[in-house]
């Protein structure tokens, strides 16, 4: 967005205002009886704990760093590969969407069963990094100005030359946009495994240990530290991305505004689509079973797709398992939907309001931009501290993980109306409100669905983390309980079912999005 010195100054001013209000509210114990400490207390505590931090920080950063690097290399490789072999991309689409939608926390018990030491943390970080980096690489490498490719081919070049001289370089801004999301993702993945216990060092371990002792100032200190790390990595990759984007622009070569979605299936007939769908679904199941076989685990512990179906339907305690699963789903899904809805609604309303008051809007936007990449689920203990171990806490967590990314998506759509259309309206004397109503709003409707698609899996993740850490309800709790009872079948079942629902939610929204998109595209 517009990043002039003016908006930078406004952002700095509003940051200062926020800090002052925070200090006052904390000092006067206005929120939740002192669980919201003033900044001075948080920093004081951070200083007192200074000898504790290095070991925790080092453990977390090491796993997150390894996971980030390995995950990025795999993801960039896959993105380039998929851009060249479209059919393979389509067949692996199910795997990609699964990695996008999976509520990471359901993988924690599974990874802890299968691996020792820091491996579970590194693997979850890799999984968290994979999807955003793979998709942004794929899109960046694929969507180049076709004339640049023709220049290469006319000069006697091959597809490899096009890749070497154009695609890889043109994709850099997009790849960095993916890395920018992947960095905080890796941190989140590592902290989630640390929540799962079993390790002595790590920010997540420290955070969880401090939750039990009820020390707000320390909890906030850890939360803010994790947030700053995420924000710094976000900032660094943003800077690189912006640098490469600037050097990719010249006013005649129009870099096509890159689409955020994978290819649609419009080119295929109904039957072909069905076949591709089945193929990509089977690939997921095949990889699941294949991974289990590779890890060489006991079949009691490791359950493949068939074992899960057996556990639920033909096993001795199948009926009981189904009952527990359904009642947990009944608790989790409504909360996820409610949280998602409120998060989207709040984002939409705020984006509209701030569009009418652009000065406030441009001051708020950088906050939202950074906040969307914060390891918000890792802040769950703070929210639990303030709102208690209640349903309210769950909803607040869910709203907070969906709000920021949705706001960013919608605000960008609102501000990207074609200037020509706005000029026409203003030429007829339209007021700001009318421009909003006739031009910006209709354009932003589609972005509401895009925001919903991106936020839906996060909503499910938010609810499950709150359930797992705090409220003792729903799928998150069922998973945790099953771990304690060594009920391996249920652990895998909860994982499979929650992935299924997350994928269903994104697919339904993405279908709606496509239908509406087709209607509005000229």
């Amino acid at each position: 967005m517009r990043s002039s010195t003016g908006s930078l100054r406004r952002s700095a001013t509003s940051l200062l205002i926020v800090l002052v209000i925070w200090e006052l509210v904390g000092k006067l114990e206005l929120i939740a009886g002192g669980t919201f400490p003033p900044l001075s207390a948080i920093f004081g505590r951070l200083y007192d704990d200074r000898t504790d931090y290095p070991a925790h920080l080092a453990a977390t950063l090491r796993s997150a760093g390894i996971g980030f690097v390995v995950g990025s290399v795999i993801a960039i490789g896959c993105g380039i590969f998929f851009a060249q072999f479209k059919m393979l991309e389509r067949i692996f689409r199910g795997v990609s969407i699964t990695f996008f939608a999976v509520p990471l926390i359901v993988l924690v018990p599974v990874l802890l069963l299968a691996f020792q030491g820091t491996m579970p943390r590194i693997i979850l970080a890799i999984i968290a990094v994979y999807f955003p980096v793979m998709v942004s690489t794929l899109i960046g490498v694929r969507d180049i100005d076709p004339r640049l490719a023709e220049v290469i081919r006319v000069s006697g070049g091959t597809d490899i030359d096009v890749m070497r001289f154009v695609r890889l370089r043109a994709a850099l801004p997009s790849i960095f946009a993916g890395l920018r999301v992947g960095g905080p993702g890796a941190l989140l993945g590592v902290m989630l495994v640390e929540f799962g216990g079993g390790v002595r060092w790590g920010l997540g371990t420290y955070l969880l240990g401090s939750l039990g002792r009820g020390e707000p100032a320390r909890l906030w200190g850890i939360g803010l530290l994790a947030t700053s790390i995420a924000a710094i990595s976000y900032g660094v990759f943003s800077w690189f991305g912006a640098y490469f984007l600037r050097t990719n622009l010249s006013s005649t070569v129009s870099m096509k505004a890159s689409s955020t979605t994978l290819d649609s299936d419009d080119q295929y007939t109904g039957l072909q689509r069905l076949g591709l769908g089945v193929a990509s679904f089977c690939t997921v199941l095949f990889l699941w079973s294949g991974a289990l076989r590779l890890m060489d685990l006991s079949p009691v512990v490791a359950r493949g797709p068939i074992a899960v179906v057996r556990y639920l339907f033909t096993g001795a305690r199948g009926a009981d398992a189904r009952d527990r699963l359904l009642s947990a789903l009944g608790e989790t899904l409504p909360l996820a939907l409610v949280g998602l809805m409120f998060g989207l609604l709040a984002a939409f309303v705020l984006a509209l309001l701030l569009d009418l008051f652009p000065i406030v809007g441009s001051a708020f936007f950088p906050f939202a931009l950074i906040s969307q990449s914060m390891p918000l689920p890792a802040l769950t203990p703070l929210i639990v501290l303030m709102f208690g171990r209640s349903v309210l806490a769950t909803v607040v967590v869910t709203i907070s993980v969906t709000f920021f990314p949705s706001y960013v998506t919608i605000a960008q759509a609102l501000s990207s109306s074609p200037q020509g259309a706005i000029d026409v309206a203003e030429g007829y004397g339209a007021e700001r409100l009318q421009v909003l109503r006739f031009i910006r709003l209709p354009q932003a409707i589609g972005s509401l669905l895009t925001a919903a698609r991106l936020a839906a899996p996060r909503a499910l993740l938010g609810v499950m983390i709150a359930e797992y850490l705090a409220t003792g309800n729903g799928l998150g709790n069922l998973m945790n309980e099953s771990r304690g009872k060594l009920d391996y079948g249920m652990i895998w079942t909860v994982g499979a079912v929650s992935v299924t629902f997350a994928v269903l939610m994104t697919q339904i929204i993405s279908n709606l999005e496509r239908r509406i998109g087709r209607k509005f595209l000229v």
């Binding site: 023709e150 220049v151 081919r153 006319v154 006697g156 001289f165 990719n248 010249s250 006013s251």
Partner: protein, 259 residues
């Protein structure tokens, strides 16, 4: 008996499937011009002139018929680096400097860049961009970028130069200026050149022969020889001969467009 060296287009047809209906972009097009001459293709939008140019560039293949220059087919010419091409959009790599953009075809052909530094520098001077060697496209005006793309098309000393409305996006004044500069460059090197254009005056100013095309299906109506002396000058744009040819061409274009 050895025949004259020719650019030959022999009964070429090319059609496209547009949402289920077949569009004949080119139907049975034949044309011959001597190697080393300058041919302009002129016609309304959709008459297949750009398609014909893409076939000559080896970027596309005909459904029927054949194209060759001196007996060699386009895709073989392309791989030898014998073709230089410039488009309406300069299509420069935005992250490369002027010098490196011009060097791109040499890199693709895996030639040793050190051997070409003098040639690149003289091309930069030829297109009037001395002092801008290290500028990137974003720092150049539209006309300057277009000159870079023409220098890039010339860097391999191509036998064939293909120009797809290279000045279409420029204003009238700049376009005429660029036409005369292009003529200068062409007279020095004499590559066989095919220029696609909408503009009658541009075709007359540059070409030895102008092929007038019409649409649905795309075909050549008439090939008009331009016997004006070279170098052609700005005064010539106001001459009687120039206007006579322009009138003839526009008559051809408009008669067939309304038919």
């Amino acid at each position: 008996m050895v025949g004259e060296k020719l650019l030959k287009i022999d009964n070429v047809s090319r059609s496209f499937d547009l949402r289920g209906s077949l569009v004949h972009a080119l139907k049975d097009v034949s044309l011959q011009v001597p190697v080393g001459s300058f041919l302009a293709l002129i016609g309304p939008s959709g008459c297949g002139k750009s398609t014909l140019l893409r076939l000559l560039a080896g970027l596309d293949t005909p459904d029927a018929g054949a194209l060759s220059v001196n007996g060699v087919d386009p895709s073989a010419l392309r791989k030898q680096g014998s073709i230089g091409m410039a488009f309406q959009d300069p299509a420069l790599l935005p992250w490369r400097s002027v010098r490196k953009n011009i060097a791109l075809p040499l890199q693709i052909l895996k030639r040793n860049l050190d051997d070409y530094s003098v040639r690149i520098q003289s091309l930069i001077e030829l297109v009037g961009l001395s002092g801008f060697e290290d500028a990137v496209p974003g720092q150049l005006s539209g006309g300057m970028r277009q000159r870079v793309s023409i220098a890039r098309a010339l860097v391999t000393e191509p036998n064939i130069l293909l120009l797809d409305e290279p000045f279409g996006a420029l204003d009238e004044i700049l376009r005429r200026q660029m036409n005369l500069e292009l003529q200068q460059i062409w007279m020095k090197q004499r590559p066989t050149t095919v220029l696609v254009t909408h503009a009658i005056d541009e075709a007359i100013a540059l070409a030895d022969s102008v092929a007038v095309m019409t649409s649905r299906p795309g075909r050549i109506v008439e090939v008009v020889q331009i016997d004006l002396p070279r170098p052609r000058t700005t005064e010539m744009f106001r001459s009687k001969e120039f206007h006579a040819i322009a009138d003839h061409l526009s008559e051809l274009l408009f008669t067939h467009a309304s038919a």
